[in-house]
């Protein structure tokens, strides 16, 4: 297999996951935006570290915050925003098209179908566009693409790279969401708040689609520390940072077995996985949640670079 194939599959996984996260994030934020004073939109773009870009893209007229429609337009359908849903889907599709002979018809058709539908709807009259419905469509169809990959792709090195991309992106997304949302709600990083904003905390869970999961696991009222634990440390929650880095490590080990070599990327993947696996939420708060999350996100960024270096992706 060529490095360019590995690279395309890796980025196809990343972009697809990014689109899915963004769609879910928009859906989760909609109610908050409606109920809040208008600042929430910036809280959402902050998850992507794009506050400046958002303000710039909205121009002079709407300096003071941003409305729901602006937010959705920017995060979902703005083709000049490289992280928007439509840009991410287009990138994932471009990667897939170049590897048309290395992926299955099911994966290609579900992804290409999503792209065709999305771009067709965006070409129609924007004034009558049901943005919420389209975001929901993207999220559901992205799940279908991942499902098609899960049930049809050959389990070879190409699959490992697809999984690496998807889980690295997903782990990073969840870490960002937790980082930004937690400190938005509890700016001083405390474990508890006297007046719990029930809606706000359930929205944090909704960002990774885990409201009911929380109930099943904890069978208790919403508690910020438990929310943090769920997003960060629960290995059985498929979007938790721990679960994602576990999967990254697993795929790295499969590649190492196939290639018979190990490098810095392998070491780092193992180290990151261990950091999450052996952490306890109390210790995390003792260190400081922000510091811990910062360290994990730096680790993920470094791992991305090491993967590129080790497997000649650049």
């Amino acid at each position: 297999m060529l490095s360019s194939t590995a690279k395309n599959l890796y980025w196809m996984g990343r972009y697809l996951q990014r689109a899915k996260t963004t769609a879910r994030l928009i859906e989760a934020s909609q109610r908050m935006v409606l109920q809040s004073a208008g600042k929430e939109a910036e809280g959402v773009v902050a998850v992507f570290g794009m506050e400046d870009e958002f303000r710039q893209s909205r121009g002079q007229a709407q300096r003071q915050g941003g409305r729901l429609d602006d937010l959705i337009e920017f995060l979902a359908f703005d083709e000049t925003n490289p992280s928007s849903i439509v840009s991410s889907i287009a990138s994932a599709r471009r990667n897939a098209r170049e590897e048309r002979n290395n992926i299955t018809v099911d994966v290609w058709e579900s992804l290409n179908g999503l792209w065709l539908e999305l771009t067709a709807r965006l070409r129609r009259n924007r004034a009558t566009l049901d943005r919420g419905a389209l975001v929901e469509h993207v999220r559901k169809q992205a799940v279908m693409v991942f499902g098609a990959a899960q049930v049809t792709l050959l389990r070879d090195e190409a699959y490992n790279f697809f999984q690496l991309g998807a889980f690295l992106e997903r782990g990073d997304n969840t870490a960002r969401i937790l980082d930004v949302k937690y400190h938005h709600l509890l700016p001083d990083g405390r474990r508890q708040s006297e007046q719990l904003d029930y809606f706000a905390w359930s929205e944090v869970l909704a960002c990774i689609g885990a409201v009911r999961t929380y109930r099943r696991i904890y069978r208790s009222a919403l508690d910020p520390a438990k929310v943090a634990e769920l997003l960060l440390l629960r290995r059985d929650v498929p979007r938790s940072v721990h679960h994602c880095l576990w999967m990254v490590d697993l795929n790295m080990r499969e590649l190492a077995d196939a290639y018979g070599t190990r490098g810095e990327a392998d070491r780092l993947a193992g180290e990151l996985h261990a950091r999450l696996r052996y952490a306890g939420i109390d210790r995390v708060f003792d260190t400081g949640l922000a510091r811990f999350l910062g360290g994990v996100r730096d680790g993920i960024a470094t791992l991305n670079d090491e993967i590129s270096r080790q497997f000649l992706l650049d």
Partner: protein, 474 residues
């Protein structure tokens, strides 16, 4: 040349069905027009669906169109094929001998047969390729020889294609489609299979590795998915189970070529390239090329990697060199040519040029380096204004043109809007040369779908047919 158009199914005074077409004729007779139309719709559906898969390999949506496929096969009898096979093999052997000579001692020039300027002044001549000793003495590994038929025993070579001839994927796809749509046709006659082409191609490519110390690693080098033939590149690489690479996947280190893989660099021994000479190596050829690999020609000259087809093959297949090919057969092989050239008038010869100008309305005039049916004049179907316009071009650069009589290309029954009607066809067999020569039976039949049209190029409204060579017992 036959005055009357030769129809490959019905010929002679009484329009009798020719023997090879018995099966097809009775199929056409026994199949209702409705059934034929339905079959044709199935084809469209099949190709559209299939075309989507193909299109997925290719460029942006709608950028590529599928070439129309005609459901009535073109049939070649066993003995006809034996004759063509011998002629093709002979011609390609001569072309390879010429290429070795053109980039070597140029004996043929010293013998006074081909002027040295024909080689050295040719725009396609690549001086970097001089003095190279290629494995097996093969330069034209994959040759597409365009043939036309004008009578029962009259075949002519229209042109040789020894750079990067394309179209073989249609040969393979058309057969697949035909077998699905009309299995009953195959039951009656023994049709020689073509599906082994990719296996033969891989064997050919492997046989021309410089190194025989290890299993050669063969890759297919494509310009990328914006290229119009990209689907063919992806298809062939897939079928051969080799990597489809772009220039960015390869690099040269210490005179060896490697491909980048997650395991680390992997040696490459043979490159089946589908990009033009000029773009192969930005260090040696066009510096602005992003398609090639820096240092590739150095690795070739060091005998570390073979490039297929070889560099500079254009000196053997342009339309002015074409006129010398029968002489090449005599000179290099000491044989008399089996396949004939179309009588050709050269614009760079004063007598010929005078003849061309006087007979423009009867002639087909082509650019020496032209391809794809563009930049040519078909005298009999052109208006006076078109002829006058072309004459101006001709006078400006006489040496840039050759002219041939308008051949009465044979026709084959073809399913068109009005029903089944004769349409003109040509044939491009693909000749593989490695340590041995292999020709998969038949080739690509192109058909001019417009009534009376002689231009079969797909870019000019041509279609394709499945091409059958019948077995010896049929």
């Amino acid at each position: 040349m036959a005055a009357r158009t030769f129809d490959e199914m019905r010929s002679g005074a009484d329009d009798a069905i020719r023997a090879p077409y018995q099966g097809v004729a009775s199929w056409l007779d026994s199949t209702s027009p409705e059934r034929l139309a339905a079959t044709r719709q199935e084809v469209d559906l099949f190709y559209r669906r299939h075309g989507i898969t193909f299109g997925a390999y290719g460029a942006a949506e709608g950028a590529e169109t599928t070439i129309p496929f005609d459901i009535i096969p073109r049939v070649i009898a066993w003995d006809e094929w034996q004759y063509l096979h011998r002629g093709l093999e002979q011609r390609v052997r001569a072309l390879n001998a010429f290429l070795v000579d053109a980039y070597g001692a140029r004996e043929i020039c010293r013998a006074g047969i081909v002027p040295e300027a024909q080689i050295l002044m040719n725009a396609e001549f690549v001086s970097m390729a001089q003095g190279l000793a290629l494995p097996g003495g093969v330069h034209a590994h994959i040759a597409g020889i365009d043939l036309v038929r004008t009578g029962e025993k009259e075949f002519y070579v229209l042109e040789d294609n020894v750079r990067t001839p394309s179209g073989v994927s249609y040969v393979l796809e058309n057969r697949e489609v035909m077998m699905r749509l009309a299995p009953e046709l195959f039951a009656a006659k023994r049709v020689l299979p073509v599906a082994n082409y990719t296996e033969e191609l891989l064997a050919t490519l492997r046989s021309v590795s410089f190194s025989d110390s290890h299993e050669p690693n063969v890759v297919l080098l494509t310009p990328g998915h914006y290229n119009s033939a990209y689907f063919e590149h992806a298809y062939l690489a897939d079928e051969m189970g080799i990597e489809l690479v772009t220039g960015a996947d390869l690099f040269v280190d210490e005179g060896r070529v490697y491909m980048r893989t997650p395991r680390g660099p992997q040696r490459v021994d043979v490159i089946y390239r589908r990009i033009d000479d000029a773009f192969l190596d930005p260090l040696a050829m066009r510096p602005d090329s992003f398609l090639g690999v820096a240092g590739l020609l150095g690795a070739l000259r060091a005998g570390r990697v073979n490039i297929v087809n070889a560099l500079g093959n254009g000196v053997a297949d342009d339309k002015s060199t074409y006129t010398y090919v029968p002489e090449m057969v005599r000179f290099y092989l000491g044989e008399s040519p089996i396949l004939q050239n179309v009588p050709t008038h050269r614009g760079d010869r004063a007598d010929d040029f005078k003849y061309i100008l006087e007979h423009l309305p009867e002639l087909v005039v082509k650019e020496v380096h032209g391809s794809g049916g563009k930049g040519m004049l078909v005298g009999p179907t052109s208006s006076k204004a078109e002829i006058a316009e072309f004459e101006a071009l001709l006078r400006a650069r006489p040496g840039n043109y050759i002219a041939q009589p308008t051949l009465a290309l044979s026709t084959c029954p073809t399913f068109v809007a009005q029903g089944v009607a004769p349409r003109h066809v040509d044939l491009r067999p693909f000749v593989l040369s490695g340590r041995k020569i292999t020709i998969v039976p038949g080739g690509l039949t192109r058909v001019a779908l417009k009534e009376g049209s002689l231009v079969v190029n797909s870019s000019q409204g041509g279609g394709t047919k499945d091409t059958w060579v019948l077995g010896p017992d049929a």
